[in-house]
Every structure is written in C-alpha cells, then in structure tokens.
C-alpha cells in the first residue's frame, strides 16, 4: 500500500471529525436542556480533538501542520462526506446525524485499532472509548425521543428519512479500497457499511423507527473526492475567521 493511499484514509477520517465537531458546536448555548447542551458541546470538542490526532499523523507523514491543514484549505480540498457538512437544522436532525455517523465511526475505530500500522492503531485504540460513549449518548436520545409523543416520533422519522442517503455517503468507496483490504489496514468501507446497517437496525427497532428498503436509497457520494454541498465553504470561512486574522499568531 502506498503512502498516498494511507493519507487519503487519514484525511477523510480527520475531515469528517473536524467538520462534524464544528457543526455540533453550533448548539453550544442553544441545546434543549442545560445538561444536554454541555454534553453535546463536550462531544463536539471530542470530535475536534479526534481530528487533531489524525492531522498529527498526517503531519508525521509530511503533510503541513494541523492548523494550516484545518484552516487554510478550500472546500474542494476536504475529504469529508456530505452528511457532516449539512446545516445543523433542528435538534432531531442533529441527533440523527450524530447517531448515524458515530455508529459508523465506532466500527471504523474498532477495525483500525487492529491496524498493522502501529501509529494508526494506537490512535484508534485510544479514541474508540470516546466514540463508544458518543454512541451510548446517541442511542439513548434516539430511543427517548422516538418513544415520546407522536410529534417527537414523526420528527425523528423524518430526520432519519432525510439523513439516510447522506449517511450512506460515509461509505463512498475510496480508489484505494482493495489496497487497504489486501494490506490488512481495515476491512474496507463495504464491511463497515454492512456492520453499520445491522447495528443501527437494532437500535431503530427499539426506537420504533422504520428503515426503508436499502435498495430504494441512492447514496449521496462525492464528498470523499472533494465534491461538496453549498454549505461547506461558508462553514470553512466561519471556522477559519479568527485564524485568518493573524495566521502567525502564537496561541
């Protein structure tokens, strides 16, 4: 497997975490309950921290330093899936996105914890506990709201229906898919997707939410190759506003 391939993998993981971390942080001060505000903000901060860990790995492979990589690239240079860049919307959508994304991320980190590249395995092993808690949080909330009154249930179902095609975009195959599998880096996107479908199915069943026939859904691909929605560039401009005031500032 080439270094190019490894960088591609690390970039998509890091970019997903950074963009979703930023999106989720938009709820700070506006969460539905004070305690949940703190919990969701704390997890958003975890995600930005996770992206830093992967940008550091990329830096070791010769890429620019994490701040430069995070704050100076344009939208088309980002490898995140489109799911994470969509506007936060109402809390139903933010929760469902967090649920769908973190279930996939937990499987990914479990696989990468066994990766033969020691540096990658170490990071995945260390961070997967955080993601495990994020999944516990998501499962509890999805079940709580979906089993509440009719309005809550129908909002959760609509959010799920809207998010699912984008969520399938998490698993957009990389051009290096076979290289990863052959080198035993991880079992590949298809394998994560299969496991993910099983895992979310179990929780959604308890929540009384319906999954459509997977064959009827068209995954929203493109994010992994730099094709993004109109929402990413404004997010990046806002995120890098302070950095760009003085890119040489010492924090």
């Amino acid at each position: 497997m080439t270094e190019e391939a490894l960088k591609d993998l690390l970039y998509k993981i890091a970019d997903d975490q950074l963009i979703l971390g930023h999106r989720n942080s938009e709820w700070t001060g506006m969460g539905p309950l004070l305690e949940e505000d703190i919990a969701f903000s704390s997890m958003a901060q975890d995600k930005v921290g996770q992206s830093l860990a992967f940008y550091n790995l990329l830096h070791q492979l010769g890429e620019q330093d994490p701040d430069t990589v995070a704050f100076t690239r344009n939208a088309e240079q980002f490898h995140n899936c489109q799911l994470v860049e969509l506007p936060s919307g109402e809390y139903d959508f933010s929760l469902i996105r967090h649920f769908l994304f973190d279930h996939a991320e937990f499987i990914r980190f479990q696989m990468l914890a066994e990766c033969p590249i020691e540096e990658v395995a170490q990071v995945a092993k260390k961070l997967k506990g955080e993601v495990k808690y994020h999944v516990m949080h998501a499962n509890t909330w999805v079940k709580q709201l979906s089993n509440a009154n009719e309005e809550a249930h129908s909002k959760m179902q609509s959010a799920l229906d809207y998010a699912l095609p984008y969520a399938l975009g998490i698993f957009e195959p990389s051009k290096y898919e076979n290289d990863f599998i052959e080198a035993g880096i991880y079992a590949g996107e298809k394998a994560i997707e299969t496991q993910w479908k099983e895992n979310i199915h179990m929780v959604l069943e308890e929540a009384g939410l319906k999954l459509p026939d997977w064959d009827t859904l068209k995954p929203v691909y493109g994010g992994r190759y730099g094709k993004h929605t109109e929402y990413l560039q404004p997010l990046l401009s806002e995120m890098s506003e302070v950095f760009n005031e003085d890119p040489t500032a010492d924090w």
């Binding site: 305690e35 949940e36 703190i38 919990a39 921290g49 495990k132 509890t140």
Partner: protein, 214 residues
C-alpha cells in the same frame, strides 16, 4: 405589531412567545420538571465512590449521560459512575458536634420494619460537614432498618459518621468495570477544559510592555 415577539434568538423563535399576554395567567403545571438523580463518581481504582451532585433527567439512562458530562468532564481520571433516583435513597438523621450517628442506631429500629426479602444495600457515609458522602460498602438485609443496623456492625469505627445514606443495590445504575473503562480513556489529555491550562499572564505582560514602548 405582529402576534409574536420578533427576535433572531432561536430560543425565542421556537418558544413563540406572544407579544401581549391576556389578563389571566394559566396555573403552573403540577409537574413541569424532570425528577432528580444522585450521581456518584469513582475517581480512581483505589478510591471510594463519592457523591458529586444531582442531575435532572427523564430516565436513569438519560441521567447517566448528563452525569458523565457534568461530573467527569474534567479531572485526571474516572473509573465509574453510579446513578440513583433521589427517592430511592433513605437517609438517617444528621448529627451535630462530631457525634457518631452509629451511636444512635440500636437493634430496636428493626421493630416494625417493612421487610421485603433479603437483598443487598449500599451504604454511604458522611465523615465531615461540607464533604461528600462516600461509599462504605454493602450489607445484606431484609429492610432499610436492618441494613442500618448491619451497617453499624460492619462499618462503625473510631471516626464518627455524621449521616448515612442507604440504597438498594437494584436501584443503582452502574456504569463501571472493564466494559466501560475506555470511555474515560482520554480524560488526562483534556487539560484544555481547565482554566489552569491557560497560562496567559506572561503573554499579557509582554503585550502590555510592547504597547507602552510604542
């Protein structure tokens, strides 16, 4: 003026607060708050589980989510959290002037106790005013009263206990042990959540000096 106050603040937008209230106000709903849960945190393997505070939540599982972020978001380590519905805890009277509550517990308290089969009870005690209750250990008993009596025989010592909390094992949601240990894995790396980690004094001094020179 329109029917609703206008604000860019989404909290106000979503609440749809009317611009003018009528002459009478509705009565307050009887129950418009979540119930409370007591949160206990074990900071380290060799330290006792201790009371950290209270969270409002609709269920035990939700209470755990809130507890984890309110009470173990900072600090060097955490190995477990217990969450107990406030009403599931029975409380002894509290003593004054360093008297030991165990001195007031005698066998007679068990008379007329409501027995409901042998179960495990956890005992928390308060060693000092202003401190938190911490876990002494567990006893087997048929009632809260018997648990109190057994607690005296098991845990009373030279150091006075000012107050006791007793709770049935089955009423505790425990998030601890190997299955959950890794959710606190990265806590030592999160010093950025503490104000102490931001040493700005030197930088501010330097900045002021430069301003004065200019």
């Amino acid at each position: 003026m329109s029917d609703f106050l206008k604000s860019l603040d989404p909290r106000i937008n979503r609440l749809s607060i009317p611009a003018e209230f009528g002459s009478s106000f509705p009565e307050k709903d009887e129950k418009d708050q979540f119930i409370t849960y007591e949160v206990f945190v074990q900071p380290k393997e060799n330290k006792a589980m201790q009371h950290e505070g209270i969270v409002h939540a609709p269920t035990e599982e939700m209470a755990f989510l809130f507890a984890k972020e309110q009470f173990s978001r900072r600090g060097m380590s955490c190995v477990g959290i217990w969450v107990i519905k406030t009403t599931a805890i029975q409380v002894s009277p509290i003593t004054e002037n360093g008297e030991d509550i165990y001195d007031y517990i005698n066998k007679e308290i068990m008379e007329g106790a409501e027995e409901n089969g042998l179960s495990t009870y956890q005992v928390f005690q308060l060693a000092k005013r202003g401190k938190q209750h911490s876990l002494s250990g567990s006893v087997e008993a048929n009632s809260f009263e018997e648990a109190l009596w057994n607690a005296k025989n098991t845990f009373a010592d030279d150091k006075p206990a000012l107050n006791l909390w007793i709770v049935k094992e089955e009423d505790i949601l425990k998030i601890e042990g190997d299955e959950f240990a890794d959710i606190w894995n990265t806590l030592p790396d999160k010093k950025y959540r503490d104000a102490m980690d931001y040493k700005a004094t030197e930088k501010i001094k330097k900045f002021k000096e430069e301003q004065q020179k200019a």
